[in-house]
């Protein structure tokens, strides 16, 4: 078990990064902080002994973030990049709602009694994951694959230049 200190540090960094993502007005900086948040989440997975997921988190989100930045650059070159990520009129309402939501979830979480299982994580967790994915969960797996394919095709069709 990893020291609790690591968790506190990682959790703190992740939350700060997430706040920065939302509050900064430069889209690129937001995207860069988003990477920090994602890496924080990946380390959280590591603490939870989910190495495979941690690696997936990094590989999927790091690539996606780069693309996000590119989009940010492409789509905001027209104006001032420092003002590219402003708030809309729902800032106050959104803030209040999310605070309320958080309060609700936290109270719910604290009040619930969980049936904690103290067993250790199996050594060959990756192998187990693979067997599960291609055994018991093969249909969701295939559907996910199909979904990705459809999303790929759909994205290409939508983003394709419209010529008349």
């Amino acid at each position: 078990m990893v020291s609790p200190l690591v968790f506190w540090i990682v959790a703190g960094i992740t939350i700060i990064a997430a706040l920065a993502v939302v509050n900064l007005t430069n889209l690129i900086h937001s995207a860069l902080w988003l990477i920090v948040a994602f890496v924080g989440v990946a380390i959280t997975y590591l603490i939870l002994e989910a190495e495979f997921l941690a690696a997936v988190q990094i590989i999927v989100y790091a690539g996606a973030i780069a693309i996000l930045i590119v989009f940010g650059v492409m789509l905001t070159r027209r104006g001032d990049i420092r003002e590219s990520n402003l708030f809309n009129n729902y800032r106050l309402a959104g803030g209040l709602i999310s605070l309320g939501l958080m309060a609700t979830i936290v109270t719910m979480v604290v009040k619930t009694q969980w049936a904690i299982d103290v067993a250790a994580v199996p050594a060959n967790s990756v192998g187990l994951l693979a067997q599960n994915l291609l055994g018991q969960f093969v249909i969701p797996f295939e559907i996910a694959a199909m979904l990705l394919l459809v999303a790929l095709v759909g994205a290409i069709i939508i983003a394709k230049e419209v010529r008349d």
């Binding site: 020291s3 997936v56 590119v70 650059v73």
Partner: protein, 348 residues
């Protein structure tokens, strides 16, 4: 000789434990020791890789190469590094300062991190993760961001174009690279580096997976941004791509990262396809270094032979050729594995 470094590390560990430190502290110190050892190995190699690159290119181009500083120019790179230290560190006024500064440092992080799973010899892996090779893939995929940060942070159109190209190139070549590694993983039946090494006791995977090896070679050249895939940098087109505005040590860091990445990628190739640190007569770590240098030699040979490919050709080559080929390779490997299993059942 064989266990030289393993013994050193064992002795260190014993020494630290003997000092009465708690096990966790010993682990932390040992991790630090490994890190320092890897850094030392990498930096030393990079300095002489630059020298090797220059000498090799000189021989290919019928020149002499560096031959003034020290015997046969051996100290040329050291002096170059010193010179870069002495240079003014220029940050453009309009640059995004923190992004600009951080990019030069961040570019080194994935390069160094990848070495955590590199087996420098028998029993010489810093961390033998059970997702070993996947860890390498994940870490190296983050390198894109540093390039993009450099390109964007410089506030320079050439740099931005270079950064955009980097994203397009590295994200798309990631795919065939991972898929080519998949063939090896299927044969070994594990992501763990030591398992993959053990699976190559008799036959190297380059024999069983020649197509995967070639795909890996091409895709990793693209990942390294080296000729013929050095479009992000493309001196003749984008002056220096994302590095256009960098100077002094920050520029040197990008260079350092490029060569560090080259060692890492070569090390992974040597591990996955060339049997890793295994071979007769010589100590395992020496074998490993030899194999890594063979791979590095190939990359350098590429660089000094090919002209630069064009952006649209680059992407078309990836999506229309490499990716389908690597998918087919995975398929063929799977079928081959099944046939092999079936043969084994009927033999018994």
């Amino acid at each position: 000789m064989e266990n030289l470094f393993v013994n050193i590390s064992g002795a260190l560990r014993g020494w630290f434990t003997g000092m009465g430190l708690p096990p966790m502290a010993v682990e932390a110190i040992m991790a630090l020791v490994f890190l320092v050892a890897i850094l030392a190995f990498v930096l030393l190699n990079v300095v002489y890789l630059v020298y090797l690159e220059r000498k090799l290119s000189a021989y290919m181009q019928q020149r002499l190469g560096p031959n003034r500083v020290g015997p046969r120019g051996l100290f040329q790179t050291l002096l170059d590094v010193l010179k870069l230290f002495g240079k003014e560190d220029i940050i453009p006024n309009a640059a995004d300062r923190w992004v600009f500064r951080l990019a030069a440092i961040l570019v080194m992080v994935p390069a160094i991190m990848a070495f955590a799973v590199v087996p420098f010899g028998q029993g010489m892996i810093a961390v033998d993760l059970n997702i070993g090779i996947f860890y390498f893939v994940a870490v190296s995929s983050t390198a894109t961001i540093a390039f993009l940060m450099a390109g964007w942070g410089s506030n320079n159109k050439w740099a931005l174009l270079g950064g955009m190209r980097t994203v397009a190139q590295m994200v798309s070549y990631e795919l065939p690279m991972v898929l080519s590694l998949l063939g090896v993983v299927m044969l070994a039946g594990s992501l763990r580096i030591s398992d993959i090494m053990a699976a190559q006791k008799t036959v190297w995977f380059v024999v069983l997976q020649p197509v995967a090896f070639l795909i890996y070679l091409v895709a990793s050249t693209a990942e390294l941004n080296r000729q013929p895939f050095d479009l992000p940098e493309g001196e003749q087109e984008l002056t220096a791509g994302p590095f256009t505005e960098y100077s002094g040590m920050r520029y040197a860091l990008f260079f350092l990262a490029e060569y560090t990445n080259m060692i890492a990628v070569s090390a992974i190739a040597a591990t996955l396809f060339l049997g890793g640190p295994q071979g007769p007569w010589l100590p395992s770590w020496l074998w490993f270094v030899i194999k890594v240098y063979v791979m590095i030699g190939i990359y350098m040979w590429f660089r000094w032979t090919f002209p630069r490919i064009r952006m649209d050709h680059l992407l078309a080559f990836n999506w229309k050729f490499l990716v389908p080929l690597s998918l087919a390779n995975v398929l063929v490997t799977g079928i081959g594995l099944e046939i092999y299993k079936w043969f084994q059942t009927i033999r018994w």
